[in-house]
Symmetry: D2
Amino acid sequence: MRAVILDRPGTQRVGDRPDPTPAAGEVVVRVHACGICGTDLHILDGEFPPTPYPITPGHEFAGEVVEVGTGVSGLSTGDRVAVDPSLFCGRCWQCQRQRGNLCEDWNAVGDTVDGAFAEYVAVPAGNCYRLPDSVDYSAGALVEPVACAVHGLRRLDLELGSSLLVVGAGTMGLLLMQLAHGAGAYEVAMVDQDPSRLTLAAELGAAATATSVEEIVDQHRGGFDYVVEATGVPAAGQAALGGVATGGTFMVFGVAPQDARLQVSPFEVYNREITVVGSMAVLASFAPAVNAVASGVVDAARMVTHVEPLDRFADAIQLTRQRAGLKVQVRPS
Amino acid sequence: MRAVILDRPGTQRVGDRPDPTPAAGEVVVRVHACGICGTDLHILDGEFPPTPYPITPGHEFAGEVVEVGTGVSGLSTGDRVAVDPSLFCGRCWQCQRQRGNLCEDWNAVGDTVDGAFAEYVAVPAGNCYRLPDSVDYSAGALVEPVACAVHGLRRLDLELGSSLLVVGAGTMGLLLMQLAHGAGAYEVAMVDQDPSRLTLAAELGAAATATSVEEIVDQHRGGFDYVVEATGVPAAGQAALGGVATGGTFMVFGVAPQDARLQVSPFEVYNREITVVGSMAVLASFAPAVNAVASGVVDAARMVTHVEPLDRFADAIQLTRQRAGLKVQVRPS
Amino acid sequence: MRAVILDRPGTQRVGDRPDPTPAAGEVVVRVHACGICGTDLHILDGEFPPTPYPITPGHEFAGEVVEVGTGVSGLSTGDRVAVDPSLFCGRCWQCQRQRGNLCEDWNAVGDTVDGAFAEYVAVPAGNCYRLPDSVDYSAGALVEPVACAVHGLRRLDLELGSSLLVVGAGTMGLLLMQLAHGAGAYEVAMVDQDPSRLTLAAELGAAATATSVEEIVDQHRGGFDYVVEATGVPAAGQAALGGVATGGTFMVFGVAPQDARLQVSPFEVYNREITVVGSMAVLASFAPAVNAVASGVVDAARMVTHVEPLDRFADAIQLTRQRAGLKVQVRPS
Amino acid sequence: MRAVILDRPGTQRVGDRPDPTPAAGEVVVRVHACGICGTDLHILDGEFPPTPYPITPGHEFAGEVVEVGTGVSGLSTGDRVAVDPSLFCGRCWQCQRQRGNLCEDWNAVGDTVDGAFAEYVAVPAGNCYRLPDSVDYSAGALVEPVACAVHGLRRLDLELGSSLLVVGAGTMGLLLMQLAHGAGAYEVAMVDQDPSRLTLAAELGAAATATSVEEIVDQHRGGFDYVVEATGVPAAGQAALGGVATGGTFMVFGVAPQDARLQVSPFEVYNREITVVGSMAVLASFAPAVNAVASGVVDAARMVTHVEPLDRFADAIQLTRQRAGLKVQVRPS
Ligand SMILES: NC(=O)c1ccc[n+]([C@@H]2O[C@H](COP(=O)([O-])OP(=O)(O)OC[C@H]3O[C@@H](n4cnc5c(N)ncnc54)[C@H](OP(=O)(O)O)[C@@H]3O)[C@@H](O)[C@H]2O)c1
Ligand SMILES: NC(=O)c1ccc[n+]([C@@H]2O[C@H](COP(=O)([O-])OP(=O)(O)OC[C@H]3O[C@@H](n4cnc5c(N)ncnc54)[C@H](OP(=O)(O)O)[C@@H]3O)[C@@H](O)[C@H]2O)c1
Ligand SMILES: NC(=O)c1ccc[n+]([C@@H]2O[C@H](COP(=O)([O-])OP(=O)(O)OC[C@H]3O[C@@H](n4cnc5c(N)ncnc54)[C@H](OP(=O)(O)O)[C@@H]3O)[C@@H](O)[C@H]2O)c1
Ligand SMILES: NC(=O)c1ccc[n+]([C@@H]2O[C@H](COP(=O)([O-])OP(=O)(O)OC[C@H]3O[C@@H](n4cnc5c(N)ncnc54)[C@H](OP(=O)(O)O)[C@@H]3O)[C@@H](O)[C@H]2O)c1
Ligand SMILES: [Zn+2]
Ligand SMILES: [Zn+2]
Ligand SMILES: [Zn+2]
Ligand SMILES: [Zn+2]
């Protein structure tokens, strides 16, 4: 089959690899769409430490089951599925308490084993989520980022009728905003440096938008019950923290550099009962994510701005690096 | 002032009563709209035991502050407000743990002290919630039932992306459905015996409707994650319970007769981990209810089908008894 | 190896079976202690429908790892372990939302595949929980029932400082009581028909005991914040329900006959916000259960009243049927 | 009556003041014991901004009801009570959502109105919690700090069977530890610079103690599920944060200077899902706190190390400033 191959950090090519065969409990999926995310860039650049090279990346994908391994029930060839790339060990302390996203021996399809920038990929049957007919493969490949955002929403534990600010109107920020809007946040606001993204945010339901946290907090006396940092930029995180209302919650969703530090006032944490939470990847959030896409709570079509064939993987990466749009996807089949 | 007066159970007249004056900590509100609910019918009929006669009923209301008592800050004449009718004792075991809706010495404006089917009513300042200009008094008088529904939603503690069935498409059922839809229930269904109400339910967001629980459960294999009984009819409650999925929750929202009994299988409660919860009135839910109305999460205009002047109170009651529409309101001013 | 063999419902013998070998991801455990519970009696009597015969039962066990299959990390021969018997499918709707105890394709070691009334048993490595040296095998074999009780406590979601009543002072009731006492229930009471069990309950921390719910509720005005039914007897469940305070929670922990029905007043569920929950088996509760045994929060030694060698399995069953004590265990090695 | 009088910041004397009389809804309490806490020192030194001078401080107290105002039911002269000093406005956004401890117009007996370093004090009837006969006044005056710790425990939302570290073995740290131990934390550890306090900690239930966080984390691989900072010292807070396990929670309970800053890694908050929460004063936590004292979950007697008559208030303050023991109390009656 044709697949993206990273022989070592910093290189990439589309070449031939053997077709995968399903081990016991696995299925082989013919990949129809696979999105590119920041982690893929890190893997390309050799900046995602657990990566073993050579590897075929790609972890945001949907496709069709074409082969079924032994011991698999409930899935057949022809089934259209989105795939949870998570491979939890099932034995560590975190897995034993159902927090597999924090697994001490974490693995993932496309990150530590061969992934979906390829015509075919083998995955555990239990990681497959059937797609309704109304959800096309492009929307299906968006389920993984939506599942990250669903997990984030769960970590927030939104109080009905509250206000929420998302800082960073990229794909993730826009997904988080749409989900929050449909999960009981009655006033949802967005901040981004780029005014064009704010127009889209408003069309997708944001009641207020601004190019800085200070500006939007001025309009919204007392700050927001929930503030989500979805840029990964430390300075944006520090500003975002300042927008949290008394009794409110700040969530770190963006991936900041490891040496970044937020300055947090312990007096304010105590006196104003400010809560800080983080959200890491996917945890039992694929099923609701499929529903979010199918029911239109998130507008998948607007999130995917570019689709490229597998052969043009390098161009797809270029578009992503240039921040030319929102989600860029590759269509291997 | 003009006011509805119930001299004793079974009688009603519109007559003159002295204008109220505000005690310390109180304000007087000029009532612009006051809804009729089932409890009002019980009070008229002498079937609401705590009622002292003579009394002026009316507890779902909005109006304008016209007089401010001593010791009140933060409210001024001219302020447009919806009023929480709850009068919790603040001292009992339930109040001490912030469950005032279960207060052992419960009182309420319009139920145990004079209420809002009158030109003016005196209420504690802390019970007033300011209305945005965009919310008219009719919508403002709907805030109380919305606040009941908000409390119900909180009791459900909805998991993001779940399915929910409301049985009973009256005012309360329709409000519950709209709130659930905007609180993370991605598939919302409704059952009512009356097909005309189901048309409205569908227009307001219900994805599926049917005239019986059995029918809708057939369509939705395995039942619903949440089922809300909003009829008060025991047989409907029993049927509704049968629609709960494994691991799901059944909420009793309707007010059934005291001698009714649900047949609940302890084996299923254990084996399928079925949860049963109840929701009683309002608990710190007025502020989000104002937001729900203001943000359009509930469509207040569609809920109010009849508005009558105070002099036609008897006709308004008649319309309510005939179930001629959804919410019937009286406009005393 | 020697093992209990149930050739068909109603028969039992101790005979020879081939030694198990570990499949990939499995280990073989030399069983040192295995408790008998009500489910075992049902399996013996042919009253546990999913059972395939012939089968070797036994699901409450601890032992020593003696062989390690391929692909297993983190476990070695010589490790002393308690074993979670649950075999969840990992693919169904319940598994996908981390409620594997409600798995649609549920299996368990000793219930649907060969279990631990045998010298050796093969189990998935991920189901093994290492025992501290201070926990002997008899206490280790109690971890499974403790894990059921831990799951029950989690379902209750105890409010700090509340009152709790357990009805039924058998092994499970006594475990639930001890755990609740150490989980923030400041007043714990127990009811059982048998006064001798109440003496033990008091020694283990119950502040009040009685032979009927009516009697104890008389002493504790207003009922209890939490009431746990741990008998499986419908009449006891009905009485227990009557002991729930306004705003309180009733938990069905006992396994009642499938055709039993509780009479539940929907008016009280609504008006007094009574909650009903169930607790089914084990869900990610083995690790805290090991800690509960190790830290002495539950007194394992007092729970195990009889230990028999494997050859005397029939006598052990007899002791259990006669309710001669609390937990009866078998020591195959 | 005799009372402590602070005429202005930095001065203190015991003098005569008029006996208080109860307003409507109030009672007068004859104070039998009143503890000194850090806030009292700040009020003495003019460092608690909301204080109006002259004032009589004292907010941790218990006594006997000696006079009952109009409109008070359920309390009589002779009743022995602990008193919640909180005076929430009941009208602000925080009060409306039942977070009165964050009230925008916060007041408290002894902090902003005259308090209990006096023979008598007038308080709202609803703030009084009856003491069982088994709880003496000295223990009764400890209920307020216990209620702060109960609120802290609620904010932690402890998972059953988890591990917890408290940094700072002063009165508050020791109370938090004892409550956590009785609320499902099976492994409780304490750190303090002063080894003598660690001896007491061990006697009161701490399974492990050390004089530095680094040392105790070395013993407890991977850190603790919950870490509570109870010193108010920023450096201790920073060290404490380093002791949180992956997926764990850090609580700021100590009152740090307003200009202190914790350095928090947003990458770790995201990647290891570290949660930071704060706990501020008392929120509906007096009733469980009375139970904690009455049931012996906290050992009140060991917490109170010095008791002085009112006339020796200056000496009592001196003992507190010298950190001579744990809680110092004054006995005005
Ligand atoms: N927690 C998880 O499970 C998870 C999952 C997926 C992704 N992530 C992380 O989430 C973050 C967002 O992902 P994404 O795919 O949405 O990235 P993205 O498309 O790059 O979006 C980030 C957005 O933030 C904006 N931004 C940057 N600096 C800003 C500032 N100082 N103030 C306001 N806005 C600012 C960017 O604007 P410009 O383009 O103009 O700079 C961009 O619109 C990334 O850090 C990613 O690694 C986390
Ligand atoms: N928990 C609370 O805090 C709270 C607050 C307010 C109200 N309530 C209670 O909530 C319930 C609903 O109030 P509402 O104002 O919405 O009343 P409503 O307008 O009378 O609505 C009830 C609806 O249920 C339908 N219904 C009756 N029997 C049914 C059955 N067997 N199957 C299906 N549908 C059936 C009715 O249809 P028909 O009209 O055709 O009979 C009607 O459409 C009442 O019991 C009320 O007392 C509770
Ligand atoms: N939910 C779960 O995950 C789970 C797990 C394990 C077990 N269970 C179930 O939990 C229940 C208890 O198990 P167990 O092993 O503790 O059983 P057990 O030893 O038989 O204990 C039951 C106790 O309840 C007492 N009892 C019976 N009827 C009573 C009544 N009317 N009033 C008061 N007490 C009464 C019994 O007394 P006498 O002996 O005098 O009759 C006995 O002391 C069983 O139904 C079992 O199947 C559930
Ligand atoms: N959140 C709330 O609602 C609330 C309520 C009451 C009190 N508080 C706050 O809680 C904190 C504790 O109160 P408290 O009455 O228990 O005070 P305390 O008696 O002064 O106790 C503080 C303890 O921390 C120790 N400590 C100081 N620096 C340390 C370090 N670097 N490492 C380890 N231990 C250190 C102290 O030891 P040394 O004595 O040797 O210095 C002392 O034993 C204070 O900040 C207080 O203001 C908060
Ligand atoms: Zn793991
Ligand atoms: Zn009350
Ligand atoms: Zn399953
Ligand atoms: Zn307030």
